[in-house]
Symmetry: C2
Subunit: 417 residues, 2 copies
Amino acid sequence: MKKHNLCYAQSGGVTAVINTSAAAVIAAAKTTPAVHRVYAAQNGILGVLNEELIETWHESGKSLRQLEQTPGGAFGSCRVKLPDPNDDLVPYARLMDVFAAHDIRYFLYNGGNDSADTAMKLSAAARTLNYPLVVVGVPKTIDNDLAATDTCPGFPSAAKYVAVSIAETMLDVASMSATSTKVFVLEVMGRHAGWLAAAAGMAVPVGGGALMILPPEVPWRRAHFVATLHRRVKKYGYAAVVVSEGLCDSKGNFLSADGTDQFAHHQLGGVAPIIADVAKHAGYKCHWGVADYMQRAARHIASAVDAKQAVAVGEVAVQLAVQGKNAYTPVIRRLSDSPYRWRVEATSLKKVANRERKLPTTYFNREQYCITAAGRRYLSPLIKGEAYPTYNATGLPEYAILKKQLAHKKLPPYSAN
Amino acid sequence: MKKHNLCYAQSGGVTAVINTSAAAVIAAAKTTPAVHRVYAAQNGILGVLNEELIETWHESGKSLRQLEQTPGGAFGSCRVKLPDPNDDLVPYARLMDVFAAHDIRYFLYNGGNDSADTAMKLSAAARTLNYPLVVVGVPKTIDNDLAATDTCPGFPSAAKYVAVSIAETMLDVASMSATSTKVFVLEVMGRHAGWLAAAAGMAVPVGGGALMILPPEVPWRRAHFVATLHRRVKKYGYAAVVVSEGLCDSKGNFLSADGTDQFAHHQLGGVAPIIADVAKHAGYKCHWGVADYMQRAARHIASAVDAKQAVAVGEVAVQLAVQGKNAYTPVIRRLSDSPYRWRVEATSLKKVANRERKLPTTYFNREQYCITAAGRRYLSPLIKGEAYPTYNATGLPEYAILKKQLAHKKLPPYSAN
């Protein structure tokens, strides 16, 4: 069998376990006869365009083990949209030149729905340009909004972080509420889908208790929110609110946006302070937090299931590549909730690209601002188990320090013009 | 020996390990011959005023073990300032009545410098009113600003959370910086003292690398900050900024305050968005987070040293009480940095009350926005080791659910007038 090289790249917003998938790809490729060596593109597809290819075989076994527990994208990620290959084949011709120069026949793109779109375009362009490339996706996103997969690696760890953080902060504010703070607002990620906000619901019993969840799928009604807030504070002595960054009003406008918010405040970004301001006007002392990158980088509290699934999709992606499953991606299929059983299957990237899976209405009770029993059944197994990193002598996790040795360039520099 | 009862109460901002001290007090009192039973005042000193005393002996052994790993103040905390007993003895007379009614001769107040002040007033008033009360402090504060102690229980865990969180988010932004976010700003607590901001320095090598720390002790100079930010981004491709909530300008005004900030923005609170706005104006895509209560409630990443010291101060406080060390408090004395050795000593509450220990100038390099080698020597042992909580079947930590059975009231309701 003629061996060829594989190129792995990271794309879009990174997660606590995207490097876990990277390490799994590199390890699986080593034992795959059809694969010679694994390159990692520096900064996603940009690294291919610029012929900046990291020779992963120089990395030590220790570094690759530590890579599994290192958050962020160790090889660099990117937010780059390629043109439609029907309109402009120039960048694709360059990509094929780079692949050919380094005998790369397998390309694994580790990303979300935008990255699936890029992978599909790349696959189509390779066919047009007659280059024998197999493109396979490796799913990841903390937003959990990928179609065709039960969950996305990255989401369960972020969900665990959100659930544990709101559980902890609710205990905090509960103890302060007699004479001080009565409302705590936490902003989590989710421009269009409220999966992470919903995960906060795991911190409380069915019914929601003192917690109110504001996902982007449910238009925010100020009067209804304030009335419910009053009832919660009256009943529990305090309230906690978890709000998605993408919360919208009934007209579909974001509450928070760059520039000036809809209340004509100069708004520096962040919906938490807006909701906190509403709670303040309702008469409550209020604190607010913004989890931002902390939630997606929180490898220190990664979900054990997430780490396993991140490995599994990486391994299967290598198999799909050498099987010639072009424009396919591994996905997670759930077999049962309790006991939680799942397996990895393959599906066409078409079913993933440019689609968005929102929080189902059956998972969320919009009148009570809480998840339903069905929502709990879905979320519960995902945040179970802790995949702790090892720590060094100074009390910090041991992160991989990679050599990232670049391959010798064989082509002239790329110029798009 | 005649036995008497002990009353324990929590005060001020709570921490990840204040309940660890509570559990230690209850356990130590059980084996102390002079102590009959332990009451816990509901919501700090307010619980004594209102004769709301929790009978801790009804709590199960399991609940008390889980209390050790439960953040927040399980018995309720309060922010209440008592009058000077020279001006107004009325509330003190009530407090002594409640103590007498329940045969409480030992009062342990778990708090920071304000609580030490309350404890001192209480002790003085008891002497004036001729009630045989022994008042002992139990130190805690995430701010680490207590005088006369090397560190304060609560701080090492919050410091570990900050150090790990900024390490994780720096890895995240580093991987995005080629085409997206170049600056990440994290706001941490600290109105007047920059200990928690300084803890972020543990995430990076000596010199600071891509990290810039803005503690309240150093007046913020916009031009110097922006110039340094440019240099960091140029050198590392990205930068991270950790800013204390209490950051001030050269005139001593807070950058962030309720109402209108000094830039005439309507400011909803939070200095992170202000610094992020400055970074945006400097030309960088920027993300920001606000750790708020998350940092002080993050029991899931508590420091092992912190948990041990929280137990130790609780145990010693009980000893001091029965030894009659009125108006004393246990403090932590550091014996050596490496290996880290410490012991608990007793000191007068006078040395703690109403004083504030700021970040020493020798621990911080204000030109480089980073901690010094001396700062690292101080911080390093504090964040070493992880005191993980146990988790339940749904993936959440197991928190204590206390009965909190109130003692039968023996006195008429309290009215301040």
